[in-house]
Amino acid sequence: MTSPGSTVAVRMTNVSKHFGGVRALEGVHFEVRPGEVHALLGENGAGKSTILKILRGVQPPTSGTVEIGGVPLTTFTAAAARAAGVAMAFQEMSLVPTLTVAQNVFLAREIKTGSGLIDDKAAIAETRKLFAAMGVAIDPTRKVADIPAGHRQLTEIVKATSQPCTVLVLDEPTSALSANEVERLFNYVGKLRTQGVAIVYVSHRMDEIFRIADRATILRDGKHIITAPLADFTLETMIAHIIGRRSRGFSDVTRQTATLGEPLLEARDLSGQGKPIGVDLTLHRGEVVGVAGLLGSGRSSLARVLCGIQPIVSGEIRVKGKLVTIASPRDAIDAGIALVPEDRARQGFVAFHSVETNIALPNLDRIAKHAWVDHAKSAALAERSIERLRIKTSSRKAAVRTLSGGNAQKVVIAKWLASEPDVLILDEPTAGIDIGSKSEIVTLIRELARSGKAILVLSSELQELLAACDRILVMSEGRIVRDIARANLDDPQAADTLDSLQHAEQQLNKAMQEARGGLVQ
């Protein structure tokens, strides 16, 4: 497919992408050679996904040029990028659950018989061959909805590579794979590499990057930082390039050492379906505990098990020393555990309902007289919450969709605080919130802890964990592998707080990567 003599599979020159005033990419150079695995690294928001979107044609760059196999890409459509030879394995996004594996692999380009009808038998045989080349046995006749997540991920990759391509984009391809499946995938990627395919590999898992990538390009805040062979990096230098030296606006959060009370939440040997595995956990009154872990580490599963959304397979949970049975979210709320979910817009609130209605929803029993909602109580609850959490809204009657992201998040927190839970679990509490509001939320978390709650924060943003938490648990493969006191992460020799924070972030990042490496080897 590559035109002969072309030494570069992808060449992005001086590419910028602006969304209104936001500069997602700023003069980025990105080059991938045929037959190399090229890691694209950076934090969330560094510009990786923008590069991928430009590469697969769904967004045109604001300025700069893109060449695929030496030919400039002029029209930016998914079809044009595909025709130019770019294949992309999405994170399960292109699979239709109600169709079979084989039907999905050949979706929109079905194999046909001589009479023009779909030849499902040929598709099944062809799909089976493709999986055999990868060394995995997935039944092509099963419905995608019925196969495990790892198999779906491999199906996604097989689908992407079932057509000839010169460039293959793999975005977090191993997040749902078992160690064994990762090996198969890496062998397969190696095979494609020897065939001259250029592979763009995006992952947060550094151990995998070090194993499979030939070169790496690191982005930070939309800018190109460095491109170099993997041999030139160590884990430390790589992390240093990725996080850089900057403050994310958490510096104004004061973290007084909390005086710890009695244990409010204790989990012993807690296991769910798949994840988590044998987790021990203790949260004290007045304590904020963070959970860090890469994608697929079981972070969210832990929260879902504690809150009764996913069933407990074994182990026990105690609240204030008392054994509790949690089989449903209702049980968790009754036991005094409240969850502020990750996906605010979908799980957290009803956007076109008012602040008051939203806060009242989980508390209807408390503010109702028989079946009638007591409007005075409901209004009082809303007013109290607005004051306590400093929610900026024109009134309690304003629709939540008119609020900023940070204030909408406060409404969600208010919903669950009204039930006066002992334990508050926050999943990605500041995702999608502007920087100023982030530190306000973190300050709020600290205040709530001081007022006598135990708080568990799950987050992929390390700066946020470092600002909010007294203790940070590192999860990997469903287990808690490290328990680090926040104070131990600071660099005692650091010249200023910024240096100290950077040191802490690097330490935590390293701990997370090592946690994975330790398990894989």
């Binding site: 998914a78 999405f90 292109s94 699979l95 659950p97 979706l107 046909k112 009808l117 779909i118």
Partner: protein, 317 residues
């Protein structure tokens, strides 16, 4: 990983085949209990088919509509309008003119439904609910609420009242629509795109499926099939009347859902929908033969449909 999935799949997915099991079970029960009242009489069985064939034809196209996770509530009214248009067309231009008028009616309504749903983004539930009133109103208006007789014998014979040897033409229409629909849904790229669109629209779009165009075409097909149903009513009853097809949208949707089509899109079979229509006809016939009063028939029919749908649609979570 086992490769012997097929037999165990049938066992695991028995719910998807409940329509066939249920159909056979009800048939056997009626044959045993109502045999002496003429249930098994070939004329009675052909009658069941005559009464359900039109519903079955529209159920075929409704399978496609529901397959994309859309709905078409205007099919009954469009059938009525098409019957009137066909009768007037035959009156003015002869048989060919009548057929063209009927089908053109369906095409125009389908294009409007499709544009409003995919072009303007109005949910098909609302588009077709509004269209239901408009089509019925237009039919009343152009016919001045009177029946328009059809005197063309050939037309009537082909569209519903004639027989080919011992076989009623309605049976041929039903089998024809069922076979074409089945092959299109199972074996053509269009059918695959229909199920992909309803199964997960985002995924389908990421895979290169033009989901708006799929929905447009599906609504088009639905209206044309509804028009054909109206033409069959017209042929069978030798006239065009605005009342034809009244309430059919519910029978058709019930037939498709009974046959295993998901209201949430992405899953369904044409054969199942046809069987669903036949099963409703079978139940109606049996209840009449049992001597139930009309009120009792309504209650019994509703209960049977709820039980069947509850069994076929309940999924493990």
């Amino acid at each position: 990983m086992t490769e012997t999935a097929s037999p165990s799949n049938i066992f695991a997915n028995w719910r998807e085949h409940i329509i066939y099991i249920g159909f056979v079970a009800i048939f056997i029960i009626f044959a045993a209990t109502l045999g002496d009242r003429g249930f098994l009489d070939p004329n009675n069985l052909l009658n069941i088919i005559r009464q359900t064939a039109i519903i079955a034809v529209v159920a075929v196209s409704m399978t496609f509509v529901l397959g994309t996770a859309e709905i078409d509530l205007s099919v009954g009214a469009v059938a009525g309008l098409a019957s009137v248009a066909t009768a007037m067309g035959i009156d003015h231009f002869g048989m060919a003119g009548g057929i063209v008028s009927g089908l053109a009616t369906g095409a125009v309504v389908g294009a409007v439904n499709g544009y409003l749903t995919t072009g303007l983004g109005i949910p098909s539930f609302l588009t077709t609910l509004a269209m239901m009133g408009i089509a019925r109103g237009v039919a009343m208006w152009i016919s001045a609420t009177a029946a328009i007789p059809i005197l063309d014998k050939t037309y009537a014979a082909i569209f519903g009242s004639g027989n080919l040897g011992p076989v009623p033409s309605l049976l041929i229409w039903m089998v024809g629509a069922g076979l074409v629909g089945h092959v299109v849904l199972r074996r053509t790229t269009f059918g695959r795109r229909v199920l992909a669109t309803g199964g997960n629209e985002t995924s389908a779009r990421y895979s290169g499926v033009d989901t708006a165009s799929v929905k447009f075409r599906v609504l088009m097909i639905s209206s044309i099939a509804a028009a054909l149903a109206g033409m069959l009513y017209a042929g069978r009853l030798h006239s065009g009347r605005f009342q034809f097809g009244e309430g059919d949208e519910l029978s058709v949707i019930a037939a498709a859902v009974l046959g295993g089509t998901s209201l949430f899109g992405g899953a369904g079979t044409v054969i199942g929908s046809v069987m669903g229509a036949l099963m409703i006809g079978l139940i109606n016939n049996g209840l009449v033969l049992m001597g139930l009063e009309f009120s009792q028939q309504l209650i019994a029919r509703g209960a049977i449909i709820i039980i069947a749908v509850a069994i076929s649609q309940t999924r493990r979570h």
